[in-house]
Amino acid sequence: MTDPFPPPAEVLDQLDDEAFRLVVRRFLAENYPPALRNPPKRLHWRENKVWYLKLAEKNWLAPGWPREYGGMGLSAAKQIIMTEEFERYGCARVNDHGIVMVGPLLIRYGSEEQKRYFLPRILSGEHIWCQGYSEPNAGSDLASLRTEAVLEGDHWVINGQKTWTTLASDANWIFLLARTDKRAKQQQGISFLLVPMAAKGVSVRPIINLELHDEFCETFFDNVRVPKENLVGEINQGWTMAKALLGFERIFLGSPRQSAYALTRLRRLAEHVGISDAPVFIDRYTRLRLDLADHRALYETYVAKLRRGEALGADVSMLKVNQSEIFQRISEFMLEIAGENAGLLEPIEGNRDLHPAGIFIQARPASIYGGTNEIQRNIIAKNVLDLPA
């Protein structure tokens, strides 16, 4: 009789890193749907649901949540290994806002009732969440948001518009930042609210992005009423809570995997167009390889910090800037060498590994999402280099 696989989370957390990595690899080989490997676009719920529910069934959905709430309770270092292996295997990202954002928010700030109601429904896949932060006039300057929530009796009445609500058309709940005190200083009048997408007055309009994909949406709130219990934590503390949620996960924006994936495609493209032996190609390709190798070395110093139990500082922004710009340089080089193929809408000759235009377009938002690289540079200048305001 062999032990059941995978072992329960208590056992996993005790494994050393290498043993844990092997467990993750085996788990993926045994459980990941082959048809979903390396999807060219972000998948919708109807496509990735099968993987979400498989993770739920195996209790592998929430690696960072404490075990008392149904999570795996893994250390940051083990969560990184898990993410690395998922990325390496080419796993699709699931609709993970409930797991990555709402769960940690409620576990830290939610009422007992909120935790009891929402957490199991995230874990079962009954509730799919989307994020209502950005607005048409509040992007990088998020604190200037104007969606408003007014308390009328036992209900919040919400009016306003959110944008870049990723996969909102899949979601049945949204967590949002809304202004609850117009007189307070910008950051201090904002609260966290939970709103069912089915509520009267909520409407969603998909936005077609440059990938011609409807990943983003605009979400409108027209006199939407939710019970006052749908406030998370203290009133007017939403900004502070949102900032506190920015944990070690920021390191993932600097993961070398995205650039590594693109670099491999660059090499294949060069072979396809017959220039892989040309000195001009080799020189630039080598620069990119070295950029990525040094990036990986820097990234590993942050992983090592997490392994030692240290918190990450503002300097982790360096990883995001550097990774996204390497990714973009690779994609730009692909476009340059692809010739007319650079203009193709679909992969070259139907080969998914040869899609320079697709990777080039995918690389555009990398320097925008998660805080634009310009905002990241502001952060580095002020909080790391201590330059004056």
Binding site: R289, L290, D294, A297, E300, A304, N378, L385
Partner: protein, 362 residues
């Protein structure tokens, strides 16, 4: 992967050792304070301070890579890099990296002299510019060396040279009649020696000079790291204090963003050097060692030139004066960045020897 970058794969004890090395280096190579000593030595001969050199020897640093059984300190590359980094931050002209390189091939008696500072033997291994390896024309036969070696830093201070020849390494005394040395000043106030040997009397040396050359290359990368770290600190200080248009210039976003980019290059260099030191400490296999060294040197050379160049621009006119210290760093980078192989040479070597690793993508 259990190796932690930063040369601390043996845990807290090693980290403490590295800290101690940096601290003791401060006695002769201070990170703080003025650079008057460095200025005063510029364009003099031998271009460094013999008294400081004796102190460096007394600290045991020339023997940092020599096994303890042979009178050295027997420390690893992480430690050597920490020391070289401090030397770079202090713009030390004393020829530590050359002297350490020579120890790889010196026989016992000479080695003892080298470690104590009684004699200074410097390597003369180069025949062309910008390359770490190239076919040699220098020959060594019947006890005589024929050939011309170039770009020997601080050659005026040497008592003898380790000369690389087709047949192996040979020791050539500086005072021999068949040896002529021509000096050329360098931008940083030091000099290169060009050494011509016409049947110079020489004795054969044994040891793995090629492996030591890789270590010297990495130590040079660490020296550049220290140099750029300090010039960046100098620049940030200026940005925090200089006022124009009624504001500290460091509050201007154009300068903040450039500074953020420089910080990234600085930290990439630090990570690359530390990762390479770990590789050298962990394996004797030439392939991975050379790839790691080339990576670090390519990054350090390019980043050092960029940081020093940008330091001038971020300061403005003041940094174009010789009186202001930023220029000392720029001119040092101009000299050191291309020593032990230029960034272009190292990139080409990396491309030639490092296979596209499977780890680069699925």
């Amino acid at each position: 992967m259990t190796n932690e970058p930063g040369g601390m794969n043996e845990g807290a004890g090693r980290a403490e050792g590295l800290r101690l090395i940096r601290e003791s280096a401060a006695a002769v190579a201070p990170r703080q304070g003025d650079l008057r000593r460095i200025r005063a030595l510029r364009f003099t001969r031998p271009g460094f301070d013999p008294a400081i050199w004796r102190e460096i020897c007394a600290m045991g640093w020339v023997g940092i890579r020599v096994p303890e059984g042979q009178g050295g300190a027997g420390l690893g590359m992480a430690e050597y890099c920490a020391l070289a980094e401090e030397f770079g931050a202090a713009l030390m002209p004393e020829p530590l990296i050359g002297a350490v390189l020579a120890t790889a091939v010196l026989p016992a008696a000479l080695l003892a002299d080298q470690l104590s500072g009684r004699r200074l033997i410097l390597p003369a291994w180069q025949e062309k510019s910008g390359a770490l390896h190239a076919p040699l024309t220098t020959s060594f036969s019947n006890g005589g060396v024929f050939g011309r070696k170039v770009f020997v830093p601080m050659a005026a201070g040497a008592d003898g040279f380790v000369v690389t020849a087709r047949e192996g390494c040979a020791l050539v005394p500086a005072s021999a009649e068949a040896v002529s040395l021509v000096l050329a000043d360098t931008q940083d106030g030091g000099h290169f020696g060009a050494l011509s040997c016409d049947d110079a009397p020489a004795s054969a040396l044994a040891g793995d000079f090629a492996a030591a050359l890789e270590e010297a290359t990495l130590a040079t990368s660490a020296y550049l790291l220290g140099l750029m770290d300090r010039v960046f600190a100098l620049t940030l200080d200026y940005l925090r204090t200089r006022t124009q248009f009624g504001r500290k210039i460091g509050s201007f976003q154009a300068l903040q963003h450039r500074s953020a980019d420089l910080k990234i290059q600085l930290e990439l260099t630090r990570a690359s050097v530390a990762a390479a030191a770990d590789v050298l400490d962990a394996t004797a296999e030439p392939g991975p060692r050379q790839a790691a060294v080339s990576r670090a040197k390519a990054r350090a050379s390019d980043a050092a030139l960029r940081l020093t160049r940008e330091a001038i621009q971020l300061h403005g006119g003041i940094a174009y004066t010789d009186e202001y210290d930023a220029g000392l760093f720029l001119r040092k980078a101009m000299v050191v960045a291309n020593q032990f192989g230029s960034s272009a040479w190292h990139r080409a070597r990396f491309a030639a020897i490092a296979p596209d690793s499977e780890d680069e993508g699925p």
